[in-house]
Symmetry: C2
Subunit: 601 residues, 2 copies
């Protein structure tokens, strides 16, 4: 098992040098914190990752959860993890003090979760889901709900979930049919099926609190009739004891990877005794759920980046140790072999991985930073950050998810045959990674969200704000000699983005939505590469300045490494956008117009 | 489990319409065969795939081979498979009559193997490895060897292997150290370790015949000192009985996929009693082994294509059945849901898969066709086919292996969460596929083979012959109105290929081999896309002509489908070459010049 799974240096580079998270503490809300506190949080998270999570990485995969007599049994270490996370204050660490949180910037909480994901993704999910579910109650629940649920969720005694998907609906939430019938007792009676619900039942906690979408009888059709409910597995009786709430575990999925977390099928109200409590107003459930969903989408990008980070360090270590072949220019078979890392092709695969991992992480921190700034500001500024976060969420979910697959695959490839075997972590990283383009909205759905919603909302204001952000960085980088060529490349890329987007808006106007969004997934890929180029230029600028100032000579290899990866990204990855732009501007409605019979033979 | 794993229509389209394999029967060597015979072989292979192999696809994955008391136990069905393959004449079916074969064109044998690979890749490997090993004995062995080994290998009673890799050498065959000491008895005493040897021990056969590379004591260093030996696990004594030959199974690999085949570590000569018999001349072993290796590389491309084919049909079936969401232009949530295949994004993923599968298969048949023509012709013509086959082998291995990963991933994505679960075959396809960029020479090695050897051998003659082949097709397609635009795109691509290649030859001349080959893997990808575009234009031309002639109206959807996939390939895949050309012409030696310390932090 590889020792290293994240770079502490890089985390602190992002926190202090690139995003200056310490500057948030000038606002009273974060006024109790400072740079030292943030470092301490990260140091503690690293220790948790190393001691509590990483040692169980392989074992939790091999001993996967099982459904026995209607209850899901998980690895016994899950209970320890949840309690330790609760005791350490990791669940809901970004909540306000009055809700029991530590009022940590999301930026810092996100980087802590990144560490946990890299250490053992399946193990980290329990707590992050609980944070998300508790967050919904904290934002939209009644005082009574907060008192009932938050303390025990945040202590890790109770698990939280988000329960959306149904058998007949899949990704199509408009087709939700789980029903909620009002009663005079203040609760609703729920009945229906939910599938693919993460951590929806397990014996590592005493109760499971589902934040669940259902339709109140008589509600409008489609997404406008969806409401949000709190549905505990065990409801709390008058005397405080727990009583089974008619939430049955109907099945468990046996998955290729991500096996340390149970994914469960639920059956609600089989005995007509499943009670749910409405959160917020009726029929506004989807809007509320989007708070958790957006967080979960960022969380998926983060999980993907974490897995890719662990795979990168495992392949880097192997490449530094394993002797294999000779330099291409060396024809002497009696000379000693060199290590893999001395081969250009291996270096290319390592650079690719680092480009994906550190580029993705930087974009994710950017999103968290926008979230924090949205919380701290008001009026137009607040709207700006909200729009930027909205726009970038599908990108920050999908670029890491899709490119993470290729990144881990490159890591596996560095090990040759050993990469395919269970004695190294790469094959598990490869299996674990593949869930990410699927859950919390497939890549196809993210593409439609980006192009069909985010780029057009408020007359394209989010896109304009984004252009301004990137342009500001370009202008700064143009003043630095060694980076000017990258700045010009990014300038060209941004122009291409505008051209392509304008072309697609024409398609929307002239040919309608089916044509407009036919290649939204390709647009997402195109947009994502440019966004990551932006983050690389941002990092390179900071690194170049640090080198020029000579303030931290012990880190000069790290800074030079950042410049090398930036060169890699602009040299090897950014050029992909030209082919994608061709697809997007010259597609002729092939997938819209073809008839299904053409797939027959 | 999905029913369909290959398209019979497509196989017959390739055999009769695209490659006119029947025309080979004008040569006396294949004179006993005709189109009906070829159809019968394919029909029989389909039946074998359906009845003998596919039903065990999942089970052989779940009950993987184990090493128990020094012997490898495999699924009991392996024994049946080997005997049935032997009885059916599938092992060495392309061998001459006098060697016990059926003198089948490789083109037909390859398509039969494709069916077996698609049905159950792990199960198909036993026989194809035995064919390859028997082929080496047939080509280079003594009469005595042929009499001793071929009948029992071709009857499926004995297993054949290729044993190259060693612990300290990995991909670097120059560092082979397994030693062979001559004796006066006509055999050599072998001693050494071999790792990652497929089917190197199992209880489905009575003996294992290793075709194994070793160094005779005192041989020159490097690949020029490698010899080829036959090393049976059980040697044949004077009275015909079998006697253990000191070939120990030292370990078995637990792999992510491809689990139905045992991959074994061998220890030879622990008791100084392992006997091997020299094949051909001393120190020429690698040249001989390349016959099997080249076949095995084509076999890897074929296996990858087969797995991708099975995944494509599983995802196509699901997409035709599963209801999910509505057309993007339909905002009415009360209208019925549509099936997945009605969504453009799903169609794009289906077209992508079909483009990869049928494009790869066409290129593989092209290679087999060159092989057959090489066998049938003499002099300059023979050389032409040999060079074309040599040139395209690394492409036919790597394009399917690398793109097959993405193709299966797209298939899995069509199923959403179900694609990630064990109840559908996609997750196993995904795991099985990942071996292909690794075994029989990694993609990196194929890249160096293509650019560093094949494109430069005989002053670039192979590349010139290839240009002529593609140009001939372009000229023909230019005369067909509906295809002229694709012909012009391919013309441009070919010009770009020449520009990029010329640029790299300059780099070779001016900066040496390290710079020349630094991005050989990228060159391989670039070259591969153009080669597949060539095969798609070739297929489209045949389909368009068939439509114009109206000779088979019942197949018009199939032909129109071919044109749609061709349009997809030229619209979505070929544009990728512009970005790759940028990388190849503007790379500045980043991976050659950077120091390893830049990976530190």
């Amino acid at each position: 098992m590889a020792e290293k799974f994240v770079s502490e240096t890089n985390l602190k580079f992002l926190i202090h040098d690139v995003f200056d998270v310490g500057s948030l503490t000038r606002y009273p809300y974060y006024g109790d914190h400072n740079d030292e506190v943030f470092d301490m949080v990260i140091d503690t998270a690293l220790k948790v990752g190393e001691d509590l999570l990483h040692p169980y990485f392989e074992e939790m995969d091999r001993r996967q959860p099982e459904l026995l007599d209607g209850r899901v049994k998980v690895h016994p270490h899950v209970k320890t993890i949840m309690r330790e996370f609760g005791a350490g204050g990791w669940i809901g660490a970004d909540f306000p003090y009055e809700a029991g949180g530590q009022q940590l910037p999301l930026t810092i909480m996100l980087l802590s979760e990144f560490i946990f994901d890299a250490a053992n993704y399946s193990a980290a999910v329990y707590a992050s889901l609980t944070s998300g579910a508790a967050g919904l109650i904290e934002s939209f629940g009644t005082e009574e709900m907060k008192e009932t649920y938050l303390p025990l969720m945040m202590s890790g005694e109770w698990q939280g979930t988000m329960a959306l998907t149904e058998p007949q609906a899949g990704s199509s939430l408009a087709d939700t049919v789980t029903s909620a019938e009002p009663t005079d007792e203040g609760y609703y009676k729920l009945r229906g099926q939910k599938i693919f619900i993460s951590a929806a039942d397990h014996d590592g906690v005493e109760n499971i609190i589902h934040l669940l979408l259902a339709k109140i009888k008589g509600a409008p059709a489609g997404v406008r009739g969806i409401s949000l409910f709190v549905v505990p597995r065990e409801r709390i009786t008058g005397d405080g004891s727990l009583e089974f709430n008619d939430v049955h575990s109907a099945g468990i999925y046996h998955k290729m990877g991500y096996r340390g977390s149970p994914i469960v099928q639920l059956s609600l109200g089989e005995e007509n005794d499943c009670r749910g409590w409405l959160v917020g107003e009726p029929n506004r459930g989807l809007a509320y759920m989007f708070q958790m969903m957006n967080g979960a989408r960022i969380g998926v990008g983060l999980g993907a980046t974490g897995i890719a980070s662990a795979a990168y360090y495992a392949s880097l270590q192997y490449s530094k140790e394993r002797q294999q072949g000779r330099r291409l220019s060396n024809k002497d078979p009696e000379s000693p072999q060199v290590r893999l890392i001395e081969h250009s092709d291996i270096r290319r695969m390592l650079l690719f991985q680092r480009a994906v991992v550190e580029g993705s992480l930087s974009l994710l921190v950017q999103c968290a930073y926008y979230h924090d700034m949205e919380r701290l500001t008001e009026g137009e500024e607040k709207e700006k950050y909200a729009l930027l976060l909205d726009l970038l969420t599908p990108v920050a979910k999908s670029y890491p998810a899709e490119m993470g697959i290729l990144s881990v695959s490159a890591g596996l490839q560095c090990l040759g045959g050993y990469g395919y075997c269970e004695e190294f972590p790469l094959e598990q990283n490869y299996r674990d990674m593949r869930i990410h383009p699927i859950h919390e909205g497939t890549t196809g759905i993210q593409g439609m969200d980006l192009l069909g919603r985010k780029m057009v909302m408020k007359d394209g204001k989010a896109g304009e704000l984004y252009l301004r952000e990137v342009t500001a960085l370009i202008d700064e980088a143009l003043t630095v000699d060694s980076l000017a060529k990258y700045a010009r490349s990014l300038e060209d890329a941004l122009e291409l983005l505008q051209t392509v987007t304008a072309k697609l808006m024409d398609v929307a106007a002239n040919k309608g939505r089916d044509y407009f969004l036919a290649d939204a997934t390709v647009y997402l890929e195109f947009f994502g590469i440019i966004a990551i180029a932006w983050q690389w230029l941002k990092q390179a600028l900071v690194a170049q300045k640090a080198l020029d100032e000579g303030s931290a000579p012990e880190k000069s290899d790290f800074y030079l490494g950042k410049l090398a990866v930036c060169a890699y990204f602009f040299g090897y990855e950014l050029p992909k956008i030209s082919g994608l732009a061709t697809v997007l501007t010259e597609a002729e409605g092939l997938t819209v117009e073809m008839t299904e019979t053409l797939f027959d033979d």
